[in-house]
């Protein structure tokens, strides 16, 4: 029996959701952090979307948010010219790192000892979280605002994407530029998969897949509409993408075939990410909501329940919803 995807809507933000990130899998499950223009990033349980807490302290729109692997720390990048590090268990602010302009992106190393930041002052900064008073190391080179910066190659290298239409690969120890990719148009998003060293880049209507070490092109796939963000499934069989037409697209990575498209958001999709176990993907939109989507539609997982035909129409004390009402932010 064909099943129709029921996205789970997470409300609570009052402005567009511009970034989201998952943690790794911890003994308490996995977690999701969302960056929002309302300045109040939120932490949610990754498999259900249940709100856990809100990080209060930023005085401007939060443009980037990330969690460390075990979800004990969070970092956020904001328009108030600061990046902040938070205790993701208590919600307390741990560090405020002053910058000279809007901060757009933050990323922890795997051991959480170093935080990479980037933003409108065109500099990449490396903060030693064990000695936070020490001045950060700075890497200059980009000629426009930095949109996204990520650690790669076992934290030995850094990848950065900027409005100067380049993606640059830097060596951490020498702080020098190793390679550069030039595009005709601005790169809208970048995702890095350590397992397989794959870089997923979106620009215009294209989703490009590159080798993260050599920056060699693997393949490109074109979508029906301008794409703002894409994510490759951990098993590298599917990828999802979302953008200006408000829809989520699911493609086969091997054949490049468009498999499905889902409507649901009431505004452009700004970010989309697969969960660490690949069972769901989350999307953040201009409409102020996050939505969770099943990878295998109809499977029992999180809040989704597989209902067999004989159970339908029977009175159930469990209160099953078939079409959850849309809750507007």
């Amino acid at each position: 029996m064909a099943m129709r995807q029921t996205p789970l809507t997470c409300s609570g933000h009052t402005r567009p959701v511009v970034d989201l990130a998952f943690s790794g899998i911890t003994p308490y499950g996995y977690f999701l952090i969302s960056a929002c223009k309302d300045g109040k990033p939120m932490l949610r349980q990754g498999d259900t979307g249940d709100w856990i807490g809100t990080f209060l302290g930023h005085k401007g729109a939060v443009w980037g948010a990330t969690l460390n692997t075990d979800a004990t720390k969070a970092a956020t990048a904001a328009a108030d010219f600061t990046a902040k590090v938070w205790d993701a268990v208590s919600g307390d602010e741990v560090l405020t790192l002053a910058h000279k302009h809007i901060v757009k992106t933050v990323n922890f190393t795997q051991d959480s000892t170093c935080l990479l930041t980037g933003g409108n002052d065109k500099l990449l900064r490396l903060y030693d979280l064990i000695n936070p008073e020490a001045a950060p190391q700075e890497i200059a080179g980009h000629t426009s605002a930095i949109k996204k910066a990520l650690w790669c190659n076992n934290d030995k290298q850094i990848l950065s994407a900027a409005d100067d239409k380049t993606i640059r690969l830097w060596d951490r120890s020498s702080m020098e530029e190793v390679k550069q990719l030039k595009f005709d148009t601005s790169v809208s998003s970048m995702e890095y998969l350590a397992d397989g060293e794959i870089l997923v880049i979106t620009y215009g209507k294209t989703i490009g897949f590159y080798n993260a070490l050599s920056l060699d092109l693997i393949k490109t796939v074109d979508a029906p509409a301008p794409i703002n963000s894409a994510s490759l499934h951990p098993d590298k069989d599917f990828f999802v993408a979302g953008g200006e037409d408000f829809k989520l697209y699911k493609f086969d990575y091997g054949t490049k075939e468009e498999l499905e498209s889902y409507k649901g958001h009431f505004g452009p999709v700004h970010c989309v990410r697969f969960s660490p176990d690949g069972e769901l993907y989350a999307s953040g939109s201009e409409d102020g909501t996050l939505r969770l989507w099943q990878t295998a539609v109809g499977k029992t997982y999180g809040l989704w329940k597989c209902v067999l035909p004989e159970d339908l129409g029977v009175e159930n004390s469990e209160q099953l919803y078939t079409s959850p009402p849309e809750i507007k932010a």
């Binding site: 259900t48 856990i52 208590s90 809040l303």
Partner: protein, 128 residues
């Protein structure tokens, strides 16, 4: 016609009264260090721990009683950036993030109702 996937319930939304991070959750209890580390984390001294815990409870209780007795009284706040203001204390929120005050005397006038951000406060005094 495809059947929509059933859902047990909707994701829980934010609590309007608190910033969350439930201290009763399993994760919090297991992982959260108290703001001032106990001496138990460095050396194990079995007799010292109950005394230290008792001292913590006394301090916490004193602080809470202080907040109670401050209600509707004039309080002087010493804050960062050399700010000294006086106001009538109303209440604190549950996480001690904000103090609700009335008639806040500032160098640029008297604010009828205001919220003072606790992280900006260095100390406060009042006559009990």
């Amino acid at each position: 016609m495809a059947t929509p996937v059933s859902v047990l319930r909707l994701p829980k939304g934010p609590d309007p009264n608190s910033r969350g991070f439930d201290p009763k959750s399993a994760r919090f209890i297991a992982l959260c260090r108290t703001s001032i580390a106990t001496s138990a984390s460095s050396e194990t001294n079995a007799e010292q721990l109950p005394r230290e815990q008792h001292a913590r409870s006394v301090l916490r209780e004193t602080f809470l009683r202080c907040l109670l007795s401050m209600t509707n009284k004039k309080v002087h706040f010493l804050m960062h950036e050399r700010v000294k203001v006086e106001a009538t204390f109303g209440a604190s929120d549950i996480d001690v993030l904000n103090f609700q005050v009335s008639d806040l005397h500032t160098p640029i006038g008297v604010q009828k109702e205001a919220l003072i951000r606790c992280q900006d406060v260095i100390s406060f005094t009042f006559d009990s």
